[in-house]
């Protein structure tokens, strides 16, 4: 906290800042979750509606086994990596913004 300004006037405590903070972070989280859920919830649907296609053998695996048992993990790592990068970026941006307002 900057000691010169009382907390009530600190831009950190403004309604606008909190709203911005939560909206931007939630938007990012929801976007990443959506990408994950499309894959996760889509696979049972694919198994349900296209069983023949999903039973195609690829190197011994059925397509559905290959996706769930092997390919799924790296996909999730990529989503989490993107999230952390963006999320850290947002935080740095928020800190910059507040420091600018405190000085100004």
């Amino acid at each position: 906290m900057s000691s010169s300004t009382p907390p009530s006037h600190d831009p950190v405590h403004s309604e606008a800042f909190l709203a911005l903070l939560m909206r931007r972070q939630l938007k990012l989280s929801v976007a990443c979750a959506a990408a994950f859920l499309v894959v996760l919830l889509g696979l049972p649907l694919a198994n349900y509606f296209a069983p023949e296609l999903m039973a195609t053998r690829v190197a011994g695996f059925t397509l559905t086994w290959l996706i769930l048992g092997v390919v799924f993990f790296p996909v999730v790592w990529v989503i989490s990596f993107v999230f952390i990068k963006r999320s850290m970026g947002l935080e740095a941006d928020e800190v910059r913004q507040i420091e600018k307002e405190r000085q100004g």
Binding site: L21, Q25, G69, V95
Partner: protein, 603 residues
Amino acid sequence: MDLLNTSSSLTLPLAMFANVDPWIFAFSAITVVITVWMGFRSAKTSKTAGDFFVAGRSVSVGWNASAISGEYLSAASFMGIAGMVMAVGYDALWYPVCYACGYLFLLLFIAGPLRRFGAYTIPDFAEGRYDSPIFRKIAVVFVMFIGLFYTLPQMKGAGTTLAYIFPGLPYWVGVAVVGAVITLNVALGGMKGITLVQAMQYWMKMFAISVPVFVLMAVFGGYGKNLGANDGRTLAAAMNPVAEISAPAVAGAGTPAEVARHPLPAKAPSDEAWIAPFGPLTTKAAKAAGLSAEESKPLSLVYTYSLIIALVCGTAGLPHILVRFYTNPDGAAAKRTTMWVMILIGVFYVFPPVMGVIGRNLLPELYAATGAKGTDKIVLELPRIINERYGVWGSVLSGIACAGAFAAFMSTFSGLLVSMTSALAHDVYGRMLRPQSTPEQRMKMFKFAAIGIGGLSVLLGSQVEQLQINFMVGQAFAIAAASYFPLLFMSVWWRGMTMKGAATGMLSGGIAALICTTIINLGDLKIVDLAAFWAAHPLLRILCEQPAIWAVPLAIGLMIVVSKLTASQIPGNIRMKMLVLHAPEKLGLKQEYIQEQQSGMGH
């Protein structure tokens, strides 16, 4: 024919080899000794309450990610998944995938804010967020329920493994011995004591599952090759077993289809049902009701989705995992830790299904056995078939696998014990019964509580030999998904939530899931005969066995409705709380809040 004889004499009745395999015994003993020794050693350095509860909040990302992974990879991961994949096939794959990927929800919505809030336990968070001591009590109750449900499968893992190492040893003795050792360890070392042990145990488990899998694949053919053998040759194999067995696969042999398969016993699922989605696991209720394949498919889909919801949301609501996030220095570290956890456990979770696949081909005898002798011990038993070709090396591998199993249930049970004990010592005793107690008194209480809960776990654990390890863990996840996940998710992201809304939703969802899982267990353990009722109501059985699909929305819905009705009771300083949850640490809000709380609560 010789091959068949040797393998069945090795695997069938345990009494047939009265002697303990020295290799298996040696590796297991080393694991136990190292774990206990490290616990004792660090007991000397665990002095303050902070050390006991959150390891001094000073654990680095690398250590912490290993420790969380080590704690998370329980008997269900190490033994149960392979056993379940072998028993039911494709449907069981949802377990490892959702165990690993559930962390994404934790990462996206909960890890950072929760760490920033700066509490010791989830009940701390519940009280801090809603200024309500009553809510703390409700939260504590669920720490205990989820913890106990999660402890049971660890105890089953302990009983199964010890019965494997010491043939003829009753199941309950294994439960009692392992339970006593860990309880002592936790009572002495607390959280700081087990952080290092658990970090080490992750790497031990990784080694113990991957090395036998790689060796087995080198000798008996790769993952895809073994899976490729499940192409409907079951019938042919059953009718003419000698023809199948007489063509064993040679390491490195070119043709992919040539995997030696032993004939499947009558109890094993057919190739078609085993490898295809919506197999024996999700169609069980429909099968019991005598529905046709077409009629049972939509029910299977419901089961699958409910299982996914339970596992993904449940991971984000497990108290013993969440408490680990408080050992991170800050919110950013909590996020990075979560990502590393997903990578560490994701790599691990590729291996157990391989064991299940090879086990189906090479050790189908296990299908015929039940309890501690059934498919749940495939990870321990399978490496021994190497003995047929390379002498003692199979026993060495099996010993390594046993060491991993020990690491698995010991580390998870330690973590569960710490979280349940913390709930009793820190929340019930320190905050409710004796708020004026000194830190010394609380630490003493921690030790007493550890011993009490350890005893209770052993008692309950000795009753569940007939239940599948992985299924029991799934139940703990379902309860967590319907209670803690909605609480954390909504508390972090919705300011309009009131204490009454949060409590109503969490209690309703959690208790609903708890009742359902209890009913299912009573039926499965044949304490209450429900078979006829379930046969008449297959959908009801599915919704009871996998309650997440309705219990999670029920909890969230009630939270919204009740909070709207009690909107006047939104905590007064909610904006400040939301800021603490969401603003980057660099802005200095966290320190402000903790100092305020510390002076108020006398920490």
